[in-house]
């Protein structure tokens, strides 16, 4: 799907002159035009802005890392101590034995992967129905979907729990998977993205004799990689970081997720914040991996390239 020509096309400017050429491109135009020079200046400005921004965004994270390297009674000091007086690296080895961290990570991963896959699959299917097929009652049904997002889970978690209990599903991963995989979030996100894909594309495919399912699979899905990537990413992160859902539904310790495991350092009257921060740093790593993989799909132009074809 991608080739050099499209990559270059992807560089069509937008919203300003700040769009930088790809590295190869830059090499080719080394004896640069004034325009080229201007671009490089603006690149520098953008880097400057980004670096400052990133610094501002990372401060709490830095505190988290610093706290993870302290003794517990050194974490919440007044005033804040940014650099530990003594680096307690052993926190990072202790946590694996203090709690079954590896097992918790596996449980979290299992849930997050399954839920993300189901959410992306069923969400993108339903979204096609809501955006590209017209039938009576469609919009009302869609509003019902959105409407339920507005109800805080705290309001219906007890009725839901009773229902699950009667189905014999509590204290199992299945309960959480069933609850979270069919949420309205994915449907809504994908529908909105499909709305930006011109209907002419589907029309053309219909004329070519493709069925609706064929259009979904062969035309729409390949075009919606950025949206699929962001849906997958956000679903993964939300599932990974979810606390209340697993807390209510997973009773046996062997089913616990990372977030529950970390909360087990909170006691009745105090908490082991050093351990909590250590665990939080560890639990961010999988998210980073997923993010770095997923963000590659946010490349302008891929989505609609080949649209004229």
């Amino acid at each position: 799907m991608t080739n050099m020509a499209e990559d270059l096309k992807a560089e069509a400017p937008f919203a300003g002159e700040g769009l930088a050429p790809a590295p190869e491109d830059r090499r080719r135009t080394q004896r640069d035009s004034p325009r080229e020079r201007k671009k490089r200046t603006s690149d520098a400005v953008i880097y400057g802005v980004l670096v400052v921004l990133v610094a501002a965004l990372m401060v709490p994270f830095i505190w988290m890392v610093s706290s993870s390297l302290k003794e517990n009674n050194q974490v919440l000091t007044v005033p804040i101590q940014w650099i530990p007086t003594e680096f307690v690296w052993s926190n990072y080895t202790d946590i694996w034995t203090r709690i079954p961290m590896m097992g918790y990570l596996q449980n979290s991963l299992y849930l997050a992967v399954i839920i993300t896959c189901l959410q992306v699959l069923t969400g993108s299917l339903a979204a096609y129905g809501f955006s590209k097929v017209r039938f009576p009652g469609r919009d009302v049904l869609f509003l019902a979907y959105i409407g339920t997002i507005a109800v805080p889970w705290q309001a219906y978690m007890v009725p839901q729990y009773i229902m699950m209990q009667n189905l014999g599903l509590t204290n199992s991963f299945n309960a959480l998977i069933l609850l979270q995989a069919f949420g309205a979030f994915g449907v809504f996100l994908m529908r909105q993205y499909y709305m930006t894909i011109p209907d002419e594309l589907c029309e053309a495919a219909r004329i070519d004799g493709l069925s609706e399912y064929g259009i979904w699979a062969r035309v729409i899905l390949p075009l919606s990689k950025p949206a699929l990537a962001s849906l997958a990413l956000l679903t993964f992160v939300n599932t990974w970081n979810d606390y209340m859902g697993p807390f209510i539904y997973l009773t046996s310790n062997r089913l616990w997720t990372v977030q529950l495991g970390l909360r087990s350092f909170v006691g009745q009257f105090d908490a082991e914040y050093a351990m909590i921060m250590t665990g939080s740093v560890i639990s961010v790593i999988p998210i980073l991996v997923i993010f770095l993989v997923g963000q590659r799909y946010f490349i302008q132009g891929i989505a609609t390239s080949g649209m004229k074809g």
Partner: protein, 426 residues
């Protein structure tokens, strides 16, 4: 590219599945009850971090080889919420641990617990501290096994440095003066004379206990002196200011264990914590205990406390065994078992107190021992169906007085007004 994506997803799924299967990966599968043993389930919070549970269960299992106790481990933070949800779903956990008396009132009044008057009678009504809190029209639906009450922790070194031997028989005025005297700042390190944690009980429950006030009455004049004392301490810089403590989530353990506070009113649960920290070499604080400062200097010590109790679930799978367990846990055997790890049992008799003071690392001076037998221990918050709602209002108004947005008088008036209109329906 499409193929690689799909392959990557497929790989991830299989990896995820392969790693965990459906059974959960964090530990072995649930132990099946072994040949003929009764499997008794007990709801607990933070099993790893609350050693009293393990002490009780191991002790009981040793005494009753035919019973296998399985803790239902719930996070401490939202323990009551989870228990409520589980019970709503018809859960059959046998023994429910009552984290506080407000939840107890709710469960008991709604018929979720079995009456256990028999158990209470066997253990001995007179020896169980805090039992009154569980009396609902002459019926007991839970038996306390643990009773925490408040006293004054102090740092012996810091007091000695200031030329004070020990904080003996203090009134609140003497305490304030002492705290101000102990406040120092040297080399950029500030030492506070005392540390008052942000909980409203530090002011309100103390005031109620020492003035005989009722915290759900809607009349809060009796808070006034205690608020003035606390605010004066704060204004003179003898304690960390409330706004900072709250927003920085200041840990009282840090304040005391790093020598940043010379004194600290706190509950007896912290004894086990500070003992452990010293044992692990995480602090070298030389600490002692004293009775809570008092309103008058008549030598009588009033403090407040809150019991923790075991109850039998209405839907319990093993009601009889559950009762037997509670009888043991609240009785002398159970009391000794938790005394050994520094937890204060509800059952108070000489044998139990002796066991307690054999604990290694516990300060053995006379004052510390005296701190251990207050003349009167009031309940932290009265038990009623109005307690939870009142508690919320008192908390909110406490905030406003402590950050200085409301004067003490205005705050007290507002508390009364809100409790009367929102809770008591007057």
């Amino acid at each position: 590219m499409k193929r690689t994506t799909l392959a990557a997803i497929a790989l991830a799924v299989t990896a995820g599945l392969g790693l965990t299967g459906c059974a959960g990966a964090a530990g072995p599968a649930e132990p099946q009850s072994q040949d003929g043993k009764t499997r008794l389930t007990v709801s607990v919070w933070n099993y790893e971090g609350t050693p009293e549970f393990k002490a009780l269960f191991d002790g009981y299992e040793a005494a009753n080889p035919d019973v296998d106790i399985e803790p239902v481990d719930i996070l401490a933070d939202d323990y009551p919420q989870k228990v409520t949800t589980m019970l709503a779903g018809g859960d059959t956990t046998d023994v429910l641990t009552m984290k506080n008396v407000i939840d107890y009132a709710r469960y008991a009044n709604n018929g979720q617990l079995q009456e256990i008057n028999g158990v209470v009678d066997t253990v001995g009504k007179d020896d169980l501290a805090g039992l009154d809190a569980f009396d609902i029209d002459g019926k007991y639906y839970a038996a306390p096994y643990r009773q925490d009450f408040w006293l004054l922790y102090y740092n012996k070194e810091l007091l000695k440095a200031a030329g004070v031997e020990e904080p003996k028989d203090l009134t609140w005025d003497e305490y304030t003066a002492l705290a101000q005297k102990l406040t120092t700042e040297a080399g950029g390190k500030k030492v506070y004379g005392t540390y008052h944690h942000i909980w409203r009980s530090v002011v309100q429950a103390i005031a109620a206990a020492q003035n005989g006030g009722d915290q759900i009455s809607g009349e809060y004049g009796f808070f006034e002196d205690q608020y003035n004392t606390t605010l004066e301490l704060q204004k003179s810089g003898a304690t960390l200011d409330f706004g900072t403590a709250k927003s920085q989530k200041t840990s009282y353990r840090t304040m005391f264990e790093t020598g940043q506070a010379a004194m600290m009113p706190m509950g007896t649960w912290y004894i086990a914590g500070v003992l452990q920290a010293k044992k692990d070499g995480k602090t070298d604080v030389d600490w002692g205990l004293a009775p809570l400062p008092q309103k008058d200097s008549n030598g009588k010590v009033s403090t407040f406390g809150s019991p923790t109790a075991f109850a039998v679930n209405k839907n319990a799978a093993h009601s009889e065994e559950a009762r037997k367990f509670i009888e043991w846990a609240a009785g002398e055997e159970g009391a000794k078992a938790i005394s050994k790890i520094g937890v204060v049992p509800a059952l108070q008799n000489d044998a139990v107190t002796d066991t307690y003071f054999q604990l290694e690392g516990l300060p053995t001076d006379e004052l510390s021992k005296k701190a251990f037998s207050p003349d009167e221990t009031a309940l932290e918050m009265p038990v009623s169906d109005k307690s939870a709602a009142t508690d919320k209002i008192l908390n909110q108004e406490h905030d406003l007085i402590m950050v200085g947005e409301r004067s003490v008088a205005d705050g007290i008036t507002e508390m009364g007004k809100r409790v009367k209109s929102e809770v008591l329906g007057q």
